[in-house]
Symmetry: C2
Subunit: 348 residues, 2 copies
């Protein structure tokens, strides 16, 4: 796939080194991609020069303005119009690039992307979607925190968008979809999740709706797409991260307790490394802002070059799949059906 | 502490064996406790006879009625008035016992406990509170699912009740309290969590309010009491369980991959067992229905005798601490202060 990705070269803890090296790594899997790099030219030029492949496929655009990590989104929006983040987003708006990737300030990236790219027709609220590891592989969780309160129609649209993401990035033909709830029975939970489930059952779109899932279904990988509001999704993702960290901590601590276990540790180390790779957050890096009229991928702020390359890969797959055209089409189809459902409800 | 605990001897997957053996194990730590056992006498009598210590400290009360695990709470409430669960709860209401422990149907236990025991003065909504392991030890999470929607005053009361629980069961002098949110800054989250935080800051009760915490703070053990609504709490707890299960699965799978790692596994096995014990859900068994006028402890339905003994231990500690008298007193004090806050808000 020949496409151009614009990179906020100054965003994230390891920028610009991580961004430049990540772009070079991504070219091994996607040799036809071109990059627009936004950032401080005096820093970027010598870095890019170290990678002959990247040098031929990257264009630098200088700016010395950067969005700080602690900048409030509203302030960043007003004051950082010349920042590397803003210019990288503008490049998508102006069709110079097909997607933007940034490891910078999440709130600012969301606010700027919303203002510059706007939402897709029929979408009011973009959602942050992120892949997380499961027993069976990986699943997509959305919304991860863009919207603390969501109604049934929002949740329905998240399902449609998540379905398209899984088809695009994991290549699954018929992803299964679940709504996160406190039980699997129809009467469980609050009105918004119950109404969203009814919409998904009744729309007639070719979606494989599994029904309600519970928190433990995330790790089990029961469904490919886990739909929830941004409050619950943010808490669930961060809880998962915290528990994974706690378990690794206790595991390491336990392995240090005796001479035998220290010896044994040397023997099991390759196995533990395999275990670590399975759960490596870098392999699941690249959260997408779904629902915007333009592809914007958020890379984790503290990822390394391998993780950043993965986020670029997510962006390329989304461009290749033409995800936004497909989401727009499904939302358009479901709009008609949603209205019918609402009207039928009113007649009843 | 000399007290009497009533046991639903027929509740849970391993009943009645797990209940009887659990009671025997609990007597090793709490030799002065007495038990009222409700259930099928023909099954219970020979089981109890195997434990001479328990035989001297247990009284059997026969019933052949049982609440099934798939029974709807509303049906159980109407139809199971002679069940082992209902009679065990009644015993607390009638002052024959100071607490009830059951591994049976959670919804039915909550519904029956609410109807029979009623709530404490000043409490509208009881909450389910559960200890979970962290890096620093264990923390209490509430509400775990009794109330899918909670307002600021509910969250405030959960904080007061959770504080009392930690003092009672873990013996901490000044537990720290956090409200679960999507960020730590004051303006984050929805109105209910922000208003609850204001209440906790302004009430003047001797509570150590830390502020907002995020999902990953659960595993870190940042605070002793994590306050949230029942929807988010249920999802967070089950997400944590699912991720812990997934990690154990991947760890075992990785350790089976080579001869060296299988050999090494023999050497690290004691360390891994130590790791397993650290996270053993049996050690954290015993969720309490906080806010009821009577102590009701829910044991996990699939726990074993050691886990059930732990749930009995939680019940005994709560009785010893006289938790409900203390909660009532703090809620009474905070009622005055809450009203002042509300009135001050209206004047402003």
């Amino acid at each position: 796939m020949s496409c151009t990705i614009s990179l906020d070269a100054m965003g994230g803890a390891g920028a610009p080194e991580v961004v430049i090296e990540g772009a070079e790594i991504a070219l091994r899997s996607y040799p036809d991609v071109r990059f627009l790099l936004f950032g401080d030219e005096s820093k970027l030029r010598p870095l890019v020069a170290r990678f002959p492949v990247l040098s031929r496929r990257a264009t630098l655009q200088h700016t010395d303005e950067v969005v700080r990590d602690d900048e409030k989104p509203s302030v960043a929006l007003r004051k950082c119009k010349g920042s590397s983040m803003r210019l990288a987003i503008n490049a998508v708006k102006e069709n110079q690039a097909q997607a933007v990737v940034s490891s910078g300030n999440t709130g600012a990236l969301m606010a700027m992307s919303k203002i510059v790219l706007r939402t897709l027709p029929g979408i009011n609220r973009p959602a942050i979607a992120s892949l997380i590891p499961t027993i069976r592989g990986e699943s997509l969780l959305l919304d991860m925190g863009a919207n603390v309160e969501c109604d049934a129609q929002d949740l329905f649209r998240f399902a449609v968008m998540g379905d398209a993401f899984i088809r695009a990035v994991l290549g699954k033909h018929q992803p299964t979809i679940g709504i996160l709830n406190v039980g699997s029975e129809d009467m469980k939970g609050h009105e918004e999740v119950r109404a969203a489930a009814r919409l998904l059952r009744e729309t007639g779109l070719p979606l494989d709706f599994h029904g309600f899932v519970e928190g433990d279904d995330i790790g089990k990988g029961t469904v490919d797409v886990v739909v929830t509001d941004g409050f619950t999704g943010n808490v669930a993702l961060k809880t998962a991260e915290g528990i994974a960290h706690m378990m690794t901590y206790h595991l390491k601590d336990s392995l240090k307790r005796s001479l035998a276990s220290k010896l044994g540790y040397l023997l099991v180390k390759p196995a533990l490394n395999h275990f670590k790779r399975k759960l490596d957050p870098r392999q699941h890096n690249g959260a997408m802002f779904l629902g915007l009229d333009g592809i914007a991928v958020k890379s984790h702020g503290s990822t390394d070059a391998v993780g950043f390359a993965n986020a670029i890969g997510v962006a390329v797959e989304l461009v290749t799949y033409d995800i936004n055209r497909r989401i727009t089409e499904e939302i358009r189809q479901s709009h008609a059906i949603l209205e019918e459902t609402v009207m039928a409800g009113e007649r009843a």
